[in-house]
Amino acid sequence: MREVAVIGVGMNKWGELWEKSHRRIWTEAALAAVDDAGVDRVDAMYVGCMSGGLFVGQEHLGALLADELGMGPIPGTRVESACASGGLAFRQAVLAVAAGAHDIVLASGVEKMTDVDGGAATYALSTAADQEYECYQGITFPGLYAMMARVHMERYGTTRRQLADVAVKNHAHGLLNELAQFRMKVTAEQVMGSAAVADPLRLLDCSPITDGAAAVVLCPLEMARKLSKQPPVRVAASAHATDRIALHERDDMADLASTRHAAALAYKQAGITPKDLSFCEVHDCFTIAEILVIEALGLTARGKGGAAAGSGLTAQGGKIPVNPSGGLKSKGHPVGATGIAQIREAVLQLRGEAGKRQVPKARWGLTQNMGGTGASTVVHIFERAEGRKR
């Protein structure tokens, strides 16, 4: 297997992009990544998109978008794994380059969520849960995460205030991200006083509905310096794991087993431990999700994740900054694009190009992207290539 590097990243401003179509949003981000890498061709491309069909009535994205980019007839593959579609698209690109099937590969993600009303968007997102045995009964995604939160709160003493602290931290981080959808400071009081959605979760515990795309360019590490002027970032690990899709089928509803399994594989591949990480970009689709994820990644002990945001452990300047980009909470969550945007942030941080939100001396970065209530997780670890002793 060949070692793989990321040599280009692209993303546009996320938000409610009324004037832009699904294909336009994607093409902007893809062109930005190709231009950033400085390559004149792409040999294959992968597109993470959860539900082009339900959000804009458009499937067959591999062919459509390869042509939009002017790269036809290259193979274009659409990848779906609910909210982990972007991370999984990147993993397919890594495998293709590592296996020697292709040299220059574009990995991308897109979701156009505001062409439908809130009810239709909620329905499209709910298809990531068990339709017949969860959604049929009237549960929603905020409701499923609310039930996970209640287990964590009752078992470990996690407080309502600690959930709010995650939103406060990630919005503070997002203030420094010029592409974020919601660049605003929020207080714990505002979070706890926002509209109740599914007890104990409130509106400001939830990530938003977003239009957006992101893309990155990969190539073999040994070709990176020849192909691109950018400092290469090495893909040190790529891991994917699954779990039961229905929350009620899991033995422990407060344990993200797929994240735990993928993280263990990734740490082994990279030859590092959680202590070596400089920062993480994780899937904070709800405030409780970040708490569950950092425990599953081994950043804190089981049951201790609640205190991490409020204590400063996971804030900028803390021991292990989590979501320096602002996370899904502030940056936005166009579901298929989220996993790729996390990787873009990791690459910028490891190049030292993250501007005001730069994590000092960043060497190792981890991204964690999950689907549903955690039935799919993709974990990647990246290393600043020039920092590596050979």
């Binding site: 909620t122 229905a246 509803m253």
Partner: protein, 130 residues
């Protein structure tokens, strides 16, 4: 959309609570499936879900999905039935303010929703305080 055929296919589970017990390791599956995810066994014996359960976790849905708007606020929980299968369902005829985990519940047959697009009346199981 919950069309008539898709609805009809689940009737053994929704009306009669039919489950399956793995002949190899004894694990119960609801709905029944072809392969046991614990021992990979492929032989099962039909069983009926017990109707007494305990509330393991729950939420109060304030922002309801389509088909449920006129029911909000309502409680949905994960209920552990007597022989350890857990199911997701609404908890009704209860006080939303005092509902608590650990509460003993009983399964009842109720109307669950009316699918707006297909017009199918959807029945199934909900829980009430025991």
């Amino acid at each position: 959309m919950i069309g008539p055929v898709r609805y009809w296919r689940e009737i053994p589970q929704r009306y009669r609570y039919e489950a399956a017990r793995c002949s190899g390791c004894g694990k119960v599956f609801f709905p029944p499936r072809l392969v046991c995810n614990a021992c990979r066994g492929r032989e099962f014996k039909p069983v009926i879900l017990p109707q007494a359960g305990t509330l393991e976790t729950f939420t109060i849905i304030r922002v309801a999905p389509s088909g449920f708007e006129d029911q909000a606020p309502y409680a949905v929980g994960v209920v552990r039935l007597a022989d350890s299968v857990k199911v997701t369902a609404q908890i009704v005829d209860c006080d939303l303010e005092t509902l608590a985990t650990g509460q003993k519940l009983r399964l009842e047959f109720r109307k669950v929703q009316q699918d707006g697009a297909s017009g199918v009346l959807c029945y199934g199981y909900k829980f009430v305080p025991a």
